[in-house]
């Protein structure tokens, strides 16, 4: 198998064996759900219900507040009991709509089966995707209809589906690819039609050989779609790195994939797009991996958006010992949570639980100038110099060193023998540099 990759990066131990053989299980909707008004990059949604309202499953409960925003729908039927601040899986407190599930599971309108969905116009397709409240399901969560509306001077000729899933522990995309490959391919076809793209790729890392085989088999007669087996290397799933692996095109620094005629979508997003177009189904559930060495029964769950983490953990039999760290998302880029109150959102690819012994020591030693972070950086930056400049408040120097090009993948922190919190410093640097830029304007 001729595998593709990029320069730099690391190879973390992958820990996927906890859950990669576990079939997706449907998690029964809990008594109470908490739908955050912001589950994506963009402006938060605006509630269109009030406390005490009776709602049905699939009903829109919050509307998009602009173009770069998405609406929210209720995953259950029941009653709105509260709208207010609630823990969010980014480790912050955000406004959320609390819903009390009445257990009746009544849809607002019966799901339709629109077999002719492929004959819709691209505009109509985008509208349906926007109405379904779909955002990128890989992690960052960019509203999908925005990504599918590139400016006219940026023609898109390739679409890449991201099935790389390079984060250790996470297996939700892997299971989805094994269990719903046809729907994912249909989703890719829709995206290609919307963008008028000529070629479609599905990038999958070599540690998911079964998924590669499935897609190879299914795409063997397709002229314009193919699988790109990718080397096991983190962060292979980052957009710029994946585009480079698949096409050798380099997204310009500070630019976007569309600058090289490419659009990348997560496989989960493709699946959601298919469901939205064929069944008019809003995005109200997603596949989430529950994993970690201390989880009694690691699982891949189909979770209604808004389900509190504590309930998911209970469903997995709790933990075998005290929890040292809870991570929403993967361990390389995810957020550490102070407790298990936060709900799963549209972008929650998984929750990882670590024992106290597995928690990484964060006591910083002096930089040895070993250059390991430089070798690991997939963006060819010098993380240690950037961090040093940020520590000394030399933000201009940090900007010259390309602090804004950092994709926060965490490879530098992973290899640093002095345990310097490089990504943390760089994140601070990004905020400060952006502040300076705003001032200049």
């Amino acid at each position: 198998m001729c595998a593709k990759t990029f320069k730099g990066g690391i190879h973390p131990h992958d820990y996927k064996h906890f859950s990669n053989h576990k079939k997706i299980e449907k998690f029964p909707a809990p008594k109470k759900l908490y739908i955050p008004l912001i589950q994506h990059i963009g402006r938060p949604a605006v509630p269109i219900v009030k406390v005490g309202d009776e709602i049905k499953k699939g009903q829109k409960i919050a509307d998009a507040s602009g173009f770069v925003s998405i609406p929210m729908h209720s995953p259950v039927s029941g009653k709105i009991t509260k709208i207010g601040p609630y823990p969010h899986p980014t480790g912050t407190i955000q406004h959320a709509i609390e819903i009390e599930n009445d257990g009746k599971n009544e849809w607002i309108s019966k799901l339709q089966d629109d077999e002719q969905f492929m004959s819709l116009s691209p505009e109509k397709m985008k509208e349906r995707i926007q109405n379904a409240g779909i955002c990128g399901m890989g992690g960052a969560g960019f509203p999908t209809h925005v990504k599918l509306s590139p400016p006219e001077n940026r023609p898109i000729d390739i679409v890449i589906l991201n099935g790389v899933e390079c984060e250790p522990y996470l297996t939700s995309d892997h299971r989805l690819m094994l269990e719903n490959p046809e729907e994912i391919i249909a989703g890719l076809r829709i995206i290609m039609k919307i963008l008028g793209a000529k070629r479609g790729y599905i990038g999958i890392e070599l540690n998911k050989k079964d998924a590669i085989t499935v897609f190879k088999q299914m795409l063997r007669d397709e002229k314009n779609m193919s699988v790109v087996p990718c080397m096991l290397r983190y962060p292979q799933g980052a957009e710029k790195q994946l585009i480079y692996a698949a096409t050798k095109r380099k997204v310009p620094a500070g630019g976007l994939p569309m600058d090289v005629g490419a659009v990348v979508q997560n496989v989960g997003t493709a699946f959601a797009i298919y469901e939205a177009l064929r069944y008019h189904k809003p995005l109200i559930e997603r596949i989430t991996t529950m994993s970690g060495s201390i989880v009694n029964e690691p699982k891949n769950l189909k979770v209604p958006v808004g389900t509190p983490l504590s309930q998911l953990l209970e469903f997995c039999g709790g933990t075998t010992e005290d929890i040292g760290k809870i991570i929403s998302g993967g361990p390389m880029m995810g957020f550490a949570l102070p407790n298990s109150d936060a709900p799963a959102t549209k972008t929650t690819s998984g929750f990882v639980f670590m024992s106290p012994a597995e928690v990484v020591d964060t006591t910083e030693a002096p930089c040895l100038r070993c250059g390991r972070c430089v070798d690991a950086c997939p963006m060819n930056l010098i993380p240690t110099f950037i961090a040093e400049n940020v520590k000394n408040a030399q933000y201009d120097a940090a900007m010259k060193l390309g602090v804004l090009d950092c994709i926060e993948c965490g490879s530098c922190g992973y290899v640093c023998p002095s345990h310097i919190q490089l990504v943390q410093w760089i994140k601070i640097g990004k905020i400060e540099v952006n502040k300076l830029k705003l001032k200049d304007k």
Binding site: A253, G255, M332, V360, L368, G371
Partner: protein, 359 residues
């Protein structure tokens, strides 16, 4: 609910720390130390132990006196002590490694703030200090294994010289490393003051038989530089563990190979014995272990190539025209000083920098 840790990503680590890196370097140096024992005997082990003990003791003492945490268990002082001893003749005076280590740790490392802040490699600074202060102790006391002495060993070469009756050279080669022999007779040959036997010796030095001896270590030299084979074995461990990276050693050795081929011969340009220059002296030790010292070498990728290139040029210049037969440690020291400048002048372009859309 118990208190849960909420530190920043990444939440996984390769589990590499300073201690692990340093002790792995110590392990990687053991084959060379064993080779030193085989070829030079117990004396070389004794010198090394003295150097290490003095380095560790000094570091602990300085940290105690300056009320800083005592970090000798991280292994960096052990490495410094070993490097220093490895750069000494096996039969040198016992106090030489002690004085050298004390100087290396205090002046070379601790006055700058300890590990991570030292501008130059402490062990090399210690050696330079010894070289300047006690040149006799630093350039005599060479030993060779006499067991299988033939023409291909240094003592054998000396024998050839004496019986060959080339009186001029006899005095030069009283006791020396092969590089010393080569530099001296090369100078005489080019100046036209040496006879035919000198030419023969030079060719013998570069013969494949002799290169084999060089490679395995059946020669005179400093404690740690004797066996190229043992050093390469140790370096392989560090390369495998990704503790050293290819750029510095390869550009260093490559530069030395090319330049010594160009100017290191006796039959005009491009006649130099490449393998002789690579495997003799401290080049292998220097290129894989000393030049790659994390703290004092550039962090940028291009910077590392320039660093190796600079070391290579200086080494050949000193070896060929300098006052010392060996240029490795001075070259690295000089390039250490240039490291901050190199890092400054070689910023890396971020991935996709200034590339216009390819469409």
């Amino acid at each position: 609910m118990n208190l849960v840790n909420v530190s920043s990503s990444p939440h996984l680590h390769e589990h590499v720390n300073v201690r692990k890196v340093m002790w792995t370097v110590v392990i990687a140096l053991l084959p060379a130390l064993i080779a030193a024992y085989i070829f030079f005997g117990w004396r070389s082990i004794w010198i090394t132990i003295l150097g290490v003990a003095a380095a560790v003791g000094t570091e602990a003492l300085v940290q105690f006196l300056t009320k800083r945490p005592i970090t000798v268990s991280d292994g960096s002082a052990v490495v410094t002590g070993m490097f220093l001893a490895f750069n000494l003749p096996p039969l040198t005076a016992w106090w030489i490694p002690v004085v050298g280590s004390v100087f290396a740790i205090t002046i070379g490392k601790q006055i700058f703030g300890g590990l991570g802040y030292n501008p130059v490699n402490p062990a090399l600074l210690g050696r330079a200090f010894l070289m300047a202060s006690w040149p006799v102790q630093m350039t005599t006391g060479w030993a060779t294994k006499l067991a299988n002495a033939g023409v291909s060993t240094i003592s054998g070469l000396k024998q050839t010289l004496i019986t060959g009756g080339d009186a001029q050279l006899q005095n030069l080669i009283t006791s020396a490393t092969p590089l010393n022999v080569a530099q001296q007779i090369r100078g005489d040959i080019i100046a036209g003051t040496a006879g035919d036997s000198a030419r023969t010796i030079f060719h013998q030095l570069s013969s494949l038989d002799y290169i084999k001896e060089l490679f395995w270590g059946n020669i005179g030299g400093c404690i740690g530089e004797v066996s190229a084979a043992a050093l390469i074995l140790g370096a392989a461990i560090l390369v495998y563990k990704h503790y050293i990276e290819w750029r510095i050693p390869i550009s260093y050795i490559g530069t030395v190979a090319f330049l010594s081929w160009m100017v290191g011969g006796i039959d005009g340009l491009f006649s130099g014995p490449i393998l002789f220059h690579i495997f003799s002296g401290g080049l292998i030790l220097g290129a894989f272990f000393m030049a790659t010292d994390m703290v004092t070498s550039p962090v940028t990728k291009k910077g590392r190539l320039i660093f190796g290139l600079g070391c290579g040029i200086l080494t050949v210049v000193i070896r060929t025209w300098g006052g010392y037969p060996e240029g490795v440690s001075y070259s690295i020291l000089i390039m250490n000083v240039a490291t901050p400048l190199i890092d400054r002048l070689t910023p890396q372009k971020p991935f996709g920098f200034r590339k216009k859309s390819k469409k």
